[in-house]
């Protein structure tokens, strides 16, 4: 065994983020990426705050000239878009990326390079949005962008293009982080951290990520449609050509309402970590609490129509959605009473700033909740919809329910991030200024709405009784602003010279408090073993000091015997050791891939031709990305030998060595020398990653199909008069070819598993040939159509769905060909086939998805 000092030195070196400017662009460590997310997002928060103050100034009295109508419309669009997409979601993701591995006792996220990629996408999209805004091309039709106002006809300028392309681009970042977090939580928890021992915050981030996976595709699809309407002239939302603006509203709010809870849940989880730590007792009803979060996650997908009470839908439907919306009160009430019960039975030595923010959050959340109940009542909503009352309501939920817990989290975890405490006195000033300013701004805004002032108005006529209310709100906004500045000063000062915190200043009960502040590069010197829901007491992992059996082989694994960034992989449910995974070292490709992808998204504003260019560049970067060989492929053949091209070969230490003194300690079913590198099926994090990707894509496909039938139901005749029903022959033959391609491919992959590379080469080549046949037939079919995507909405659907299916086959062919070429060059074989299973899963998905589209396009047109 190595001494702790030796281990520290060794692990520090292995996990060190690369130094220098170049290192800045290649770092992949989760804490580096998480901190970048949080800092960047907070910068956007400040920018959106400045915009908010300008807006408040403009409407404080009638006909002020602070902002022109155009500037005001850009301002409220930017404020909303920034707060949601550039602040809350990225900040909370950053918090999750930073804390989740620490809380589950891991050294890294499942896919570190993907993580870094997500940050670069976020940074590029956010900066581009603000560059466009400062250049006068800020989006100006609200964060919800209802067509037809946002169509080419009414908003010809680039403003809406900026929103459509950049926000869609940004969602790539959110989705990547979500996949990342889910895979990490399910595959990299410390041994012993069974599902019912996962900290509440991790649950919250996990549920949030799953919600992102199922909600964001709706936004991506609908902004894709709007982008196509604007850039290439399709008619998804154009009534005159058979489209429907309600399609946008349904898809947007199908994303938009879950989004509210996506923003809320992490804060709920964070506060539920703090309160137990501060009142020194476990969270009351942990299991019920987690179930309530799950219930909210599910329910939030069934309430989107409450944003559409006034569009003229049938009353029966509205009452259903009203009931569903009110139902969300119940899990929320369970949270609130759980916090109350925890506090009631707790013992709190001091009331510190983080706890003040947590209490403030609960109270503001209650207030936002009761106005939420009010506006879920359909008739009252009819009156109050789109007035300042709604603005007040959702700021109580979004500022009270999201920003306050974010502040609480910063006070609580700042010591962990920086090793220093935030100043408590400044913290109290911050809290009271912010809370009072917030209530001065928004409490009376309920009345402004009752008095009939609509939202999104840059001014109003005198004499409507709104002046004094607006003046008061503006004063409140300034108080909030001052409070925020106090906070910024506090962070600035404390980061440089605050009191040293030590590993555990609060008496925290989760694993992050059992490591140094800030944590060392490797997070945990020893791989923790978790024996309870709250494994940490007084900065130590419970059970460690009591002499409870701790397998020696685990400690040897924790020494990174091969000199790689490696980690233990555990089971999704009971967190039993299943194998080992090696993490990539720093890489420039995430940065370059994000840059290349930005060519596609940002370039689309100028010409659609830059989209294929950007995608091709991205593909090239991804090839480069995967050329960076992970050492595990080699190591897998002989567990424990040093890698040929490893970063720092070491003298033969291996898990097997642990055997001599550790075999009796090994948990049943996982003797140390059978902890494999090669993981397949649900044991492999890569499988989880690809299945989550497939979940995102499946959601997108299903929403596409739903959109097809939504537009179809709006038509008496379908396809529209003058357009022939599509012929079945050619598409069906193509579809059969594609389905047939799966058979040789599957045989080929099976051959590879059995060590027959030749079988693989032949099988996959045959499969690729069949898939190429599909593409040729698709091209011929569409070349023969006498209508185009810009002829009518039917044409838009037909061409877009055809193109979308074909694009997936192209991606499949490219990915499989690359893999095939590597196999031809002898770089893929039985022991080294990382990604083969993922590729086969993706192949099956593409076949299934195109079959679904085939049924929709060719059978749906006959129905």
């Amino acid at each position: 065994m190595m001494s702790p000092d030796e281990r520290h030195e060794r692990l520090s070196r292995i996990w060190a983020p690369p130094p220098g400017i170049l290192g800045f662009f290649t770092a992949v460590n989760h804490r580096v990426v998480g901190m970048r997310f949080m800092l960047t997002a907070f910068g956007f928060f400040l920018a959106a705050g400045v915009i908010a103050v300008l807006m408040r100034l403009q409407v404080s009295l009638p006909f002020l000239g602070v902002l022109s109508p155009e500037a005001y419309n850009q301002a409220f669009t930017m404020h909303g878009s920034t707060m949601m997409f550039l602040f809350v979601i990225p900040f909370l993701e950053g918090l999750g990326i930073y804390l989740v591995p620490l809380m589950i006792g891991a050294r890294e996220m499942a896919f570190p390079r993907l993580n870094a990629f997500g940050y670069w996408v976020f940074l590029i999209a956010g900066v581009a949005l603000y560059v466009a805004y400062l250049a006068g091309y800020g989006p100006d039709s609200g964060w919800y962008n209802y067509p037809p106002l946002t169509g080419r006809g009414f908003r010809p300028g680039a403003n809406i293009d900026v929103w459509v392309t950049l926000i869609t681009f940004l969602e790539v970042s959110a989705l990547v982080a979500a996949v990342e977090i889910v895979a990490t939580v399910f595959k990299h928890r410390a041994p012993g951290m069974t599902l019912n021992r996962i900290p509440v915050f991790v649950w919250a981030i996990l549920i949030t990520s799953l919600m992102i996976i199922f909600a964001m595709p709706a936004l991506i699809l609908t902004s894709l449609m709007l982008g196509l309407d604007r850039i290439v002239g399709t008619h998804f939302f154009d009534v005159a050509a058979g489209g429907d603006p309600f399609l946008w509203q349904h898809l947007f709010w199908f994303f938009g309402h879950p989004d509210v809870y996506i923003m809320l849940l992490p804060g709920v989880g964070a506060v539920s970590m703090m309160i137990p730590a501060f009142v020194r007792r476990p969270l009351a009803g942990y299991l019920l609490f987690v179930v309530s979060m799950l219930v909210v996650g599910v329910l939030s997908f069934g309430v989107w129509v409450h944003h559409m009470y006034t569009v003229g839908l049938a009353m029966v439907g509205l009452n259903f959605f009203a009931a569903a919306s009110m139902l969300i009160t119940i899990p929320s009430a369970i949270w609130i009473f759980s916090w109350i019960l925890t506090t009631w039975k707790g013992s709190m030595p001091a009331l510190n700033t983080a706890m003040l923010f947590a209490l403030g959050f609960v109270i503001m959340f209650i207030l936002g909740g009761i106005t939420g109940i009010m506006i879920s009542a359909v008739p009252f909503n009819w009156q109050i919809h789109d007035t300042q009352f709604i603005v007040a309501h959702f700021h109580y939920t979004m500022v009270g329910g999201v920003v306050l817990p974010i502040f609480a989290s910063i006070y609580y975890w700042f010591p962990k991030f920086t090793g220093r405490m935030l100043d408590e006195r400044l913290g109290r000033w911050h809290f009271w200024l912010f809370l009072i300013g917030f209530n001065v701004t928004f409490l009376l805004m309920h009345l402004t709405g009752i008095e009939g002032m609509p939202r999104r108005v840059y001014t109003y006529l005198p004499g409507l009784g709104w002046e004094w209310l607006n003046v008061v709100s503006t004063v409140g906004a300034f108080i909030m602003g001052i409070g925020t500045l106090v906070f910024v000063w506090n962070v600035f000062r404390s980061w440089r010279g605050g009191p040293v915190a030590g590993p555990d200043p609060w008496g925290g009960r989760s694993l992050e408090w059992a490591t140094a502040s800030p944590p060392e590069n490797y997070n945990f010197l020893d791989i923790p073993v978790v024996r309870g829901l709250e494994p940490v007491r007084d900065g130590r992992i419970e059970g460690d000091e009591s002499g409870a059996p701790r397998p020696v082989w685990l400690d040897r694994l924790g020494e990174a015997p091969e000199g790689w960034r490696d980690a233990i992989v555990t089971g999704a449910v009971t967190a039993e050791p299943q194998g080992r995974a090696v993490f990539p070292t720093p890489s420039p490709w995430p940065f370059w891939s994000a840059m290349a992808l930005s060519v596609a998204f940002i370039g689309a504003m100028w010409t659609p031709w830059l989209v294929p260019v950007g995608l091709a560049l991205t593909f090239a970067c991804l090839v480069g990305w995967h050329m960076q060989e992970l050492p595990a492929g080699e190591g897998a053949r002989k567990v424990g030998t040093s890698p040929r091209d490893g970063t720092s070969p070491r003298d033969g230490a291996s898990p097997r060595d642990g055997r001599t003194d550790g075999i009796s300690d090994s948990p049943p079913g996982s003797p140390p020398d059978t902890l494999p590198w090669r993981l397949t099926g649900f044991r492999s994090p890569i499988t989880w990653g690809v299945l989550l990707l497939v979940a995102i894509e499946t959601t997108l496909l299903l929403l596409f199909v739903v959109s097809y039938f939504y537009l179809r139901l709006g038509h008496e005749t379908w396809p529209p008069a003058g357009t022939p029903v599509p012929s079945l022959l050619m598409p069906t033959v193509g579809q059969l070819l594609l389905m047939a391609s799966l058979v040789p491919a599957w045989l080929g992959f099976r051959g590879l598993r059995n060590g027959r590379v030749r079988h693989f080469l032949v099988g996959v080549a045959t499969g690729l040939g069949l898939a190429a046949g599909y593409l040729v037939l698709k091209a011929l079919e569409f070349a023969g159509k006498d209508y185009r995507w810009d002829t009518h909405a039917y044409g838009s659907l037909d061409w877009t769905m055809g193109g979308y299916a074909a694009l997936h086959v192209v991606i499949l062919v490219l990915a499989a060909s690359t893999f095939w070429v590597r196999a031809l060059r002898g770089r893929v074989h039985r022991e080294r086939r990382t990604g083969a299973g993922a590729l086969l899963i993706y192949w099956a998905f593409v076949v299934a998805g195109s079959l679904l589209f085939w049924a929709t396009q060719y059978l749906g047109a006959r129905w």
């Binding site: 000092d5 419309n73 039709s141 209802y146 037809p148 106002l149 009414f154 603006p245 009142v279 020194r280 007792r281 009351a284 009803g285 299991l287 019920l288 003229g312 509205l318 009110m326 119940i330 009430a333 009473f337 109350i340 019960l341 506090t343 009631w344 707790g346 013992s347 709190m348 030595p349 009331l351 510190n352 706890m355 209490l359 209650i366 909740g369 009010m374 009819w382 009156q383 789109d386 007035t387 408590e424 006195r425 009376l444 009345l447 009752i450 008095e451 009939g452 609509p454 939202r455 999104r456 001014t459 006529l461 009784g465 209310l469 040293v500 590993p503 200043p505 008496g507 490591t515 007084d538």
Partner: protein
């Protein structure tokens, strides 16, 4: 190697008196403010103080919901604050006891509470957080659904049908049965149920006259939505577009003028007659300016140019002189305002579609003279008040 455990910080924040968790002075200061606020309700566009049965039912729903949820919230918040106070008191006691023990840190290692009864707590939460709110919500839902039904059950057959078409940024108003076209001002008989058919010519708008309609209804291109409007008493009621529709969404308002039914009939009857075109010289010259300058390309005047078809770019001006406002309530309708509006509407409503009209002063005056004369005989402008 760095020491894994840094020096443990001694946290000694200023001890707050638990009784002062919420500064009482703050509460006392807010109370009169709230009283003033509630007392000040009932402005021209308030949803309180409506003038029809549907609106009054919604008002009751509002009062019931704000009082019931408000009381519940107040109770929960008080319980939360009491809980925090209890915890503080308990924590103080524990750390006071623990302070004498050697090695007790400010975190109060002695303050840990015993292992809780998890099953009991879950049951408690299910009852207090689950069942009780559920009971309340069922009652509230029933009340809300019943209100909704009562509000949408039309009060009898409609006595009048009005079509309103939303434009950027004004309202086209048509009376299909009476053959009347006007803009930004809807004249209805008081005490009669009016069926309003709404749609839009360009983007989505929303129709809302808080005092007379059960809330708002969106005006969507390609769709026709229906809402009932009813004024118990004669009067002028304000309405405003509530769906963001572009640059001048803010100044897209309208008025509903409810008059006694016989007065309404007289007005409708008078509109059957051909309009009286002005007969003085200046006004006649104004007609020439109107036709030559391009006004007629967007604005219709019955008897002079074709009556506006649905979707015409500008408001019908046949009765412009009789209207109370210009530019969808942006300005009061007066000679001086009309002249300035025509000269450059963007000084009042930047972003409006009507361009500035650079005309010689005399032409402008002639044009205004003509427009000012566009009024029906028998309709007193002041007679509406």
């Amino acid at each position: 190697m760095k020491a894994p455990a840094g020096s443990v910080l001694r946290l000694a924040p200023r001890r707050l008196d638990p009784r002062r968790l919420v500064p009482r002075r703050l509460v006392l200061a807010l109370l009169p403010l709230l009283a003033v606020a509630v007392g000040g309700c009932g402005g021209p566009q308030s949803i309180l103080g409506t003038d029809n049965p549907a609106g009054e039912r919604i008002e009751s729903l509002w009062w019931v919901s704000v009082l019931s949820t408000g009381i519940l919230a107040a109770v929960v918040i008080v319980v939360l604050l009491v809980a925090a106070r209890r915890a503080l008191v308990a924590g103080r006691g524990a750390s006071a006891r623990g302070a004498s023990a050697p090695g007790a840190s400010a975190r109060g290692g002695a303050g840990d509470v015993p292992v809780p009864d998890d099953a009991w707590e879950t049951k408690f939460l299910l009852v207090v957080g689950g069942a009780l709110p559920a009971l309340f919500l069922v009652g509230f839902l029933v009340f809300s659904v019943r209100t909704g039904t009562a509000v949408t059950d039309a009060p009898g057959e409609p006595g009048l049908t009005v079509e309103v078409v939303g434009h950027k940024f004004w309202w086209e108003v048509r009376y299909p049965d009476q053959g009347i076209v006007t803009a930004n001002e809807i004249r209805i008989p008081a005490g009669v149920s009016v069926e309003v058919l709404v749609s839009a010519a360009d983007v989505i708008h929303s129709f809302w006259v808080p005092a007379l309609t059960p809330g708002k209804i969106d005006m969507v291109p390609g769709r026709t939505n229906v809402i009932r409007m009813w004024a118990d008493n004669p009067g002028v009621y304000r309405g405003q577009c509530t769906e963001f529709c572009g640059t001048q969404h803010a100044l897209m308002s309208m008025e509903v003028v409810a008059v006694p039914p016989d007065e309404f009939d007289a007005w409708a009857e008078s509109r059957r007659l051909p309009p009286l075109l002005p007969d003085d010289d200046e006004a006649r010259r104004g007609i020439g300016v109107f036709m030559a300058t391009g006004c007629a390309a967007c604005h219709a005047v019955e008897g002079l140019t074709h009556p506006g078809a649905a979707g015409s770019p500008g408001p019908d001006l046949t009765d412009v002189a009789g209207r109370r406002s210009l530019g969808a309530l942006a300005l009061e309708n007066s000679t001086a305002n009309l002249l300035e509006w025509i000269r450059d509407p963007h000084q009042f409503k930047p972003g409006v579609r009507m361009p500035p009209t650079p005309l010689p002063e005399s032409d402008l005056r002639a044009l205004v003279r003509f427009l000012e004369g566009l009024e029906w005989e028998g309709l007193e402008r002041e007679g509406l008040e």
